[in-house]
């Protein structure tokens, strides 16, 4: 430490060589917790130093490097090169189970497509939240189908190729029917009398499902 003080005092009379000044600017910019002005640099460097010139040398030295000397207002700082920003992100993938509402909405769309929001709500017996539909759209498991040619021309939803890929289905018609669900023990209760017949038991189902493959 005393040596350093000597060094400073010595240099009261003679500024260190520019290469040395550049090193100093580099170290100060590196270690500072905020951008540093030229005046601050000079206040910390040995007397007679020319921080502005040292900065220009340093700036040139870092051209094209992974780190740049950048101007922040009236001050200077070192920053990683913008094109390497992708290195500063660390992606962690977290797997979460889809909510029950989302699963049911998805199932209704898959079995009844094209399905309007009103139809989904009617089948589920509760309203479908915007978030649920948005989530499924965002996951690219459903997409908008053609509008219904009914009053209000409501949008319809259909499942996507991505959905089929995820569930290992050739097409949505491969979804197991209620009979299979029952034999798989998934259906313990019989459907209520008066509830809609299963899509695959009805003729219009075929036209519905075809919509998926039209565009």
């Amino acid at each position: 430490m005393t040596e350093d003080v000597d060094k400073i005092e010595e240099s009261l009379f003679e500024a260190p060589p520019m290469g040395e000044q550049e090193r100093m600017v580099e170290a100060i910019l590196f270690a500072s917790v905020e951008p540093v002005t030229v005046a601050e640099l000079e206040a910390r460097m040995p007397h007679g130093s020319d921080a502005a010139e040292a900065l220009q040398h340093l700036r040139k030295r870092y051209e094209g490097r992974g780190v740049h000397v950048v101007r922040v207002g009236v001050a200077w700082a070192l920053r990683t090169a913008p094109d390497l920003g992708f290195l500063m992100r660390r992606e962690t993938v977290e797997t979460r189970k889809l909510s029950r509402a989302a699963i049911e909405t998805l199932a209704i769309i898959a079995y009844h497509q094209p399905a309007t929001r009103a139809e989904i709500e009617e089948i589920r017996g509760v309203s479908v939240s915007r978030g649920t539909v948005d989530q499924l759209l965002e996951m690219d498991w459903i997409r908008f189908g053609r509008r219904r040619m009914t009053p209000g021309r409501p949008v319809t939803f259909v499942v996507t190729q991505n959905f089929l890929d995820h569930f290992g289905l050739e097409n949505a018609r491969d979804l197991p029917g209620l009979k299979e669900l029952r034999s798989a023990g998934l259906l313990e209760n019989r459907p209520l009398p008066g509830s809609e017949p299963l899509p695959e038991e009805e003729g219009d189902e075929a036209t519905g499902q075809d919509e998926l493959f039209e565009d």
Binding site: R89, E104, A107, Y111, I123, G125, E188
Partner: protein, 260 residues
């Protein structure tokens, strides 16, 4: 402790002052080994050439002085004093061939080793602390650019989830209004009406469970309700003289037959 007195007389004024400072500073010592190391410096020789006998004398004199000044010494200082007294006797008396164990010289050598090792560690610690240190002599980046942790949430669902979800909706168990729950109940009237229509076919003994409505046999709640009301309806029909009823033994099937 005449030896201690003798030694005190022999010591110079400065050494006596040093010894007294030791006493006053007794709390400043990090244990008896530290004190021994301090005392060993008065010999002004390499630790490898130290006179352990002399050191033992100094230590015992110190402990004696502390006793005179009524300074409470921690137990480990006294344990060390006892050990040194033992060592001293070993070193001074001719070896007793009948006695087992290490010789005085071996014990003394070990003590010297311990002192040397402690001294070496002290010096190593000092050299370590004299090194350039992070945050004092050299520095890390002042404005770290933290790695943004992008948390990507991947939602998962299996085909089974999808099927179960759909099955759940189709059965509407969860969404049926409360009043609809009466559908799980087969009333006596309903059972009776049903039985009246079917009883004509019961020419031979038939288990009453076969009269349960088919759609009521899968759900335990409905099954119970239907069984109870069908049984009650059967008794009503027996009362009316329309059927006979029997049960072989407890828990055996209850059977009906049309009365001709």
């Amino acid at each position: 402790m005449s030896e201690g007195d003798f030694e005190e007389d022999e010591t110079s004024v400065s050494e006596r002052l040093a010894a007294e400072a030791l006493i006053v500073d007794v709390d400043g010592f990090e244990g008896p080994l530290d004190l021994l190391l301090m005392l060993s410096r008065t010999q002004k020789v390499d630790l490898r050439k130290i006179s352990v006998l002399e050191l033992a004398r100094q230590y015992l004199a110190f402990v004696e002085k502390a006793r005179v000044l009524r300074i409470e010494l921690a137990a480990d200082y006294l344990v060390m004093a006892a050990w040194l007294a033992f060592l001293k006797s070993r070193l001074l008396l001719p070896p007793d061939p009948s006695e087992d164990g290490p010789s005085g010289e071996e014990l003394a050598a070990h003590l010297a080793f311990q002192l040397e090792r402690l001294q070496a560690m002290r010096e190593a610690a000092a050299r370590l602390m004299a090194r350039d240190q992070l945050g004092r002599d050299f520095f890390a980046r002042g404005i770290p650019e933290d790695v943004a942790r992008v948390r990507k949430i991947r939602y998962s669902a299996t085909l089974l989830d999808l099927m179960q979800g759909y099955a759940r909706i189709r059965t509407r168990d969860d969404f049926r209004p409360f009043v609809m729950d009466r559908d799980a109940v087969l009333t006596l009237e309903q059972a009776l009406e049903r039985m009246r229509g079917l009883i004509g076919f019961a020419g031979s003994w038939t288990d009453i469970s076969s009269y349960l409505p088919e759609e009521f046999t899968h759900d335990p709640a409905r099954w119970r309700s239907a069984t109870a009301s069908t049984f009650a309806a059967s008794l009503e029909l027996v009362k009316e003289g329309k059927v006979d009823i029997r049960q072989g033994e407890a828990f055996a099937p209850i059977e009906l037959r049309r009365r001709d």
